[in-house]
Subunit: 368 residues, 4 copies
């Protein structure tokens, strides 16, 4: 079904876009978007982690001065709901990231554009609000990487987000079984002018993985090099281990996205939400931590903030809403999430993000 | 199906009214009554909490002198099963709260009439027994609040129950999806003579939640004011946190209802039964604590008492029985609950409510 | 279907009789036999307890001298599988307890005949082997109780088993919903010559449970009186609490059956298997403890012995096998159980019952 | 369906052979192969153990020098995926173990040929690579046992694997109910020239298990005798208890296979994966430990190595792939497993097997 030009009536909560989107995407495309990787165990772990966190509301707290605003990496953040970088959103809607950017501008949301976006930096960013970040994948050719940085700078991006958890991407078995393949019309618009990386010739006994796919994976030197190339703050996405967090903080990384790539990276990895408290404990209270992977409701956002995040990234709901109703759908979904978060805060007795901490999480004594 | 004038034959336990009621309510009305809020996670948590509590029976205890009587807030309580305040019971039966009151009188049960009852204080209370309490929602207009208090006093109510956990009420997704809306014939009979609150005009950037819905939410000052307006004991309903319990006790609140509003307030809140022991530990052994949310059987009542409650509130079973067979159904349901509790006590070796304590709960050493 | 005169071919393990029996019993009779009480939560707990116990086999243990024999209450016990006392077995097969006794004799199994048996002590016991016990329910009339004891003594019973956990018996909701009622042809054959107890007249305000059903429940004095009336060892059935176990041991009770009446007594009580280790710890290593409730295989018997039992009682499998193929079925079922136990012991590296202890149970360190 | 001569297109991961094989095996044969024993509880425990282990990936680790090679019992092991000894593979494919050996040679995999193979040592081993082991069941006749050892030595086997956990083999209830019986064409090719063991005559009162099936079970003396008969290293298969592991190590056994026979030995035994860490802790870091039972993916292999194994054995996937596409299928399955392991290592940040240890396993603090 073609995307609507109006907000559908049957959406009662942000997650309803997940259900509706089935009617606006082919079965194979839906399987590709909805799936994680492998047997989807980390995809499920993300949801189970959110669902298992219970909130402990307080009574009689005055929330009439309540708001969602905070500051992140030196910029005002009107609310803590950010649009995660997603590849190839033209798969879901012809306007792709352009419509996402328009929704971001309309809802004061921070947009993180993917290196693999279906629409280029130059096409997309003019439609975004001031809060615009660029997600960077290291390219095989360093010059191409640097060019992407410069283009992001030129487009007034405030922050670079370097994703480090996907040297190898394997679709979910569900997507494979559905016969999904990326349609020819969907391209990585940012990369069309760069040379394709040379085909690697493996010697006998060499591994397609170690000496093949991983040959170009970014390493510490690449990251250090990048830190020297730009004055933009660099955030690393894909962190799940406190020791990695500490190392990255020590080398000058400005913040982290705790993420398992929405369950699309290593099947069997823990839920982002679950490892977040240990990472917060490691980096200390002042360091920017964003949570990604599994967020489906305002209550989930509350859970993420209570577990130690400064803000959260919303991935799949973004593309589902885009598929259903383009920019309008994404903006509507973001407004729903925001009101769900506010309602949750009001009922729990929290007026501001600063009030949402671990003390708002109920743990019975058997779990303690 | 219209409500019966006789007790249906196929009811083998109080909870059977939950099953039968499906035939006496429209699908949407049933969804509205049965649902919690949001994704119903707290609704499920309530049942899981009861189901997971195991009883540890003792042998050869003499229970021939057994009974269910106790004293609560200075009044004799023939048995510890109270009728929870429910809004709009005329949705389920034309007689609504009048029939509930008749059942309460017939079974020596304490009735707690809701501010939002479908039948007014004046219509209902003449049919109730002596044990009659009034549940108070603060009104936007203080004069209206005070008038409700005076009307409750005039109707010989013994206790005021102030509900504090529902500044925002969101129906469950199930109810929303069923298309439920309150029929025009069902009104809040107690409030028809009060002015509707003025429509709030929000400034740009203000939140529909924080500056809108929460603008009139009661705060500490409101509660202190109320304590000065009446000589009736005030009980607060909606407590889930030991620190809130301590604060309320310290300010002169006479007792508490540990409740998550039957899973209809904050989706994600813990089960009432689960937090009860910590609240009992905080307020000490002598302070009145009532348990609400999730009770479906006499065994559940035993579990609630063993966890620290002085009595329990029965909500949904009340309206299900009302829908099935009016006053007769509610009275029958209460009698079944009472006998289920007595049978459970007899089999467990407890003759009186004082015998039901934490020592009657089995916990295996892995859980300890 | 009428009971077979031969062993059915499709029985691969003792528990297969549970499946087959559906074809030999009416739906309502099956529901009555298979059900527990209330919501069947204890019935399920029994099975979950067995299923969750894992065995830790040892290698290279010599079991060529293996056997199942032990001594119990001064009598040789060829194997530790006893036939639990079951009421009204003529419901399942016209020969009822007579056929069970014949199977017991054929397989060297100890028979425990119920007070409520469908065939009388005098009809049944001549068919049993030497290992014959009688289960005693206290009667309203003490003279009747004493007469039952004398009849058991005359029938050469070795032990009296006094059941104390069923002052009130409530069928399962499943049995109630199936419309089960005991057919007129099925009677408590041992009791036909005793006067029916007088109908109790309750005063207003008295409870049908406390002052009604429990009026005749046995108390400590009754048990002491019984100890003075017979030289037979008295075993108490229905113990779930270590303190009750200690009290009973102290007053001269010869042994205990740890039992929740197959989940037919207090719905919500813990699994017998689960409480057994604490009871064994309380009474010490030398005191006779039998396990009842939930046994369905030789592996379950191993689990029970490892948890501290000297022997186990088999209830429902007995009546299922009886329904399918009378004495032949019961004998076959017992032989299967016995070989299942032997195979389990051999694979685990245990040659005798004395080798089966808590050290044979695997607990991972998270459970420890 | 007859086995294919090509790799089927719809195989996206090694485990897909499990699904496909249903079309290449009769229902009864599939039930026999897929089943465990008894109620399959250990079969399920194996999978649950793997599924519950979560991996903790690290970022920015350089894996470009990555490989899977190690040394085991003095021999180079190109990768840690070994072909478990399976009985009667001619059931699945006319070529049986010959095709498995060809796949092993083509993929540098170590083959462990079963005593009960459908193709003999002499038929099979010429097709295998250098890495060839022989699995030995003790025979009733010691001369036959010794002859098997000599034949394995003659066939240049590097290691003898003595299986000790299957004195009694009981098929699963599923296999029994499917009516499975071994077809006449499938024989234990290695044993056709030995005398069948004499039929044991049991005296009255003797047990078919203890004095029957277990009469010929190997004991400590047999194992000591074997150690004196060959210079080949002897590995024991079937170990689940740390104390057995210590004893076997102390008596000169060269390594152990931690195994519950794929859930086909003692139903109720713990998962191999679960007991592995305790066994590794007992025997120390240098001692060869192989993991068997439940491996279905490269991620599972990673889990096994992280839990303390030097290599893993693959059983059912082997016969499934054989049934689908003979030697080609087995080789393809092995290549998939290998790449799955490499991808998992690359994503987790492990370049070599030495990098895979307990630190790669995520345990949340509630489990710790």
């Amino acid at each position: 079904m073609a995307a609507l030009n109006s907000i559908p009536g049957e959406v009662h909560c942000a997650q309803d876009y997940e259900i509706l989107a089935r009617h606006f995407l082919s079965e194979a495309d839906y399987a590709y978007i909805a799936g994680g990787c492998g047997r989807d165990s980390t995809l499920r772990a993300n949801r189970e982690a959110f669902d298992s966190v219970r909130l402990w509301p307080r009574l009689l707290r005055d929330v009439r001065h309540g708001h969602l605003a905070s500051t992140l990496l030196g910029h005002a953040l009107p609310h803590p709901i950010m649009l995660a970088p997603l590849a190839y959103q033209t798969l879901a809607h012809p306007q792709g990231e352009i419509d996402v950017a328009r929704a971001a501008a309309a809802t004061d949301s921070c947009l993180i554009l993917s290196t693999l976006s279906g629409r280029s930096i130059e096409e997309t960013m003019p439609h975004a609000g001031e809060a615009r970040w660029f997600q960077l994948y290291f390219q095989a050719d360093q010059a191409a990487t640097l060019d992407l940085v410069r283009r992001a700078e030129s487009a007034a991006c405030q922050v670079l987000v370097v994703t480090l958890d996907t040297a190898i991407k394997l679709p979910s078995l569900g997507a494979l079984r559905s016969g999904f393949s990326m349609p020819a019309r969907v391209v990585a618009a940012n990369l069309t002018n760069y040379r394709a990386p040379a085909q690697l010739a493996l010697a006998r006994g060499q591994s397609r993985i170690f000496q093949g796919a991983m040959a170009g994976a970014p390493n510490l030197d690449d990251l250090r090099w990048l830190l020297g190339q730009t004055r933009l703050p660099i955030v690393v996405k894909g962190v799940l281990h406190p020791e990695d967090a500490l190392m990255l903080k020590a080398m000058g990384i400005a913040g982290l996205v705790v993420s398992n790539h929405g369950g699309r990276s290593l099947d069997g990895a823990p839920a982002s939400l679950e490892v977040l408290p240990a990472i917060r404990a490691a980096v200390g209270p002042g360091y920017p931590l964003l949570l990604d992977s599994g967020v489906r409701s305002g209550t989930d956002i509350f859970r993420g903030l209570a577990a130690g995040a400064n803000a959260v990234l919303v991935g799949r709901l973004q593309v589902y809403a885009l598929a259903v109703a383009g920019a309008l759908g994404v903006a509507h979904m973001l407004r729903l999430l925001r009101e769900e978060l506010e309602a949750c805060m009001a009922q729990a007795g929290c007026a501001t993000l600063a009030d949402i901490g671990p003390q708002m999480i109920y743990r019975n004594k058997d779990e303690a």
